[in-house]
Symmetry: C2
Subunit: 236 residues, 2 copies
Amino acid sequence: MKKYTDQTRFLIAVDCIVFGFDGEHLKILLIKRGFEPEKDKWSLMGGFVRPEESLDGAANRVLTQLTGLEGVYLEQIQAYGDPLRDPIERTLSVTYFALIDIHKYETQISDQYHAEWFLLKDAPELIFDHGEMVEAAKKKIRYKAALHPILFELLPKKFTIPQLQNLYEDVYNTQIDNRNFIRKLTATKLLIKLAEKDKSGSKKGAFYFKLDKKKYKANFQAFLNFIPNPDKLISV
Amino acid sequence: MKKYTDQTRFLIAVDCIVFGFDGEHLKILLIKRGFEPEKDKWSLMGGFVRPEESLDGAANRVLTQLTGLEGVYLEQIQAYGDPLRDPIERTLSVTYFALIDIHKYETQISDQYHAEWFLLKDAPELIFDHGEMVEAAKKKIRYKAALHPILFELLPKKFTIPQLQNLYEDVYNTQIDNRNFIRKLTATKLLIKLAEKDKSGSKKGAFYFKLDKKKYKANFQAFLNFIPNPDKLISV
DNA sequence: TCAAAAGTGTTTTTTATACACCCATGT
DNA sequence: ACATGGGTGTATAAAAAACACTTTTGA
């Protein structure tokens, strides 16, 4: 059958906002753009969608190219379609956020991108509308994590409660009462306590936990409430 | 500057899932597709994005073409990019959901589309992946409305509490205790009681209310909880 | 022995839920 | 006068928040 006539076709890109957690702070992974325009400026990792791949496929490809990781938590955020967002040629961009265990990407697998982790507050200016995209991704992750246990994706398989609490405190820039936090965590029954301790953070050491993966998957959409007064902290 | 070379360009469409409420049930507005392929099959209202317009612009244009309405509540849902989703030619579709006061679109402004309102459970089979899009839109509206006061967009400026409760009960397919519902509503301080009554639904008549627009806008992102046990009713 | 971080319970407050009767009016 | 849907209050249960001290152990 004939193609649709009299319609304009556009470039389609995916851009990934890659989050990691270093134990203290949430960070994002940025690259130096490798081609004109804006060559060597800081940018999100992205790429054009190829004829045979889906959007999710393109996002995964781009992420794997950068980090070497597969099976990463990746979620579509939204499409950006301003006609002038790319000065060279109209390009629609579909953004994804990725949550990775930062320790799996410490050895810079592909130096070709000159990737670097940045604290959110220290992130450099980005090309095009990438700054706006990062802001939207931050809002999305805060919103989603207030209700669903996605932040575990940022931690190693074994993690401690203090680590987890640091993560929540940093994401929401707030102090959480340790006893209430543990009570809420326990109520989810999502965690399994291990015998082993992490002694790196203190003399006493903190017990490791791991996720109960079955319950994690089964309860993923259940509403949680790790964050006190979430509506005061989250803007949509 | 030169265009990006060696990249494939694609068609981009927007598709709108238009919701309305007839006082009893949530409905969606569908049209008969006017061109090949799948001509005369039921479809979402959509259209190709034009060179000079943004995605939001395209969605608004498409919606205005169909309904004659402007300033409608419209929110991007997600991008669908399966390479084979349109059999003729690869087309990326960005979906939007629209919430309109159904009474503003009773006179079929544009008969050219053969638009009809359908109960969600009676909706016909749709072309391409539009059925999947409708399912995703239903989930989105349920999810969002459990936390934010968007359903008011489906009602006229003046509405009654029983109307509003019917709406919530239909959206969540549940029974809500009337006294608890009113208590939660009152707590939001979003409603202003009018002197006038709607006598169409009963002999006693039900007081009209209107939204306090300032508080509505200010509190739009605050988490509400009109729905008992939302996590049991909402699937993400 | 002491500094530093981990871990543990109880009380109070707030929020959600369950529940049943009277009211106003048109017919 | 009665049938129909609208409107109201209270008691109980559950969840969230506030709050401070003891434990462990390496240096």
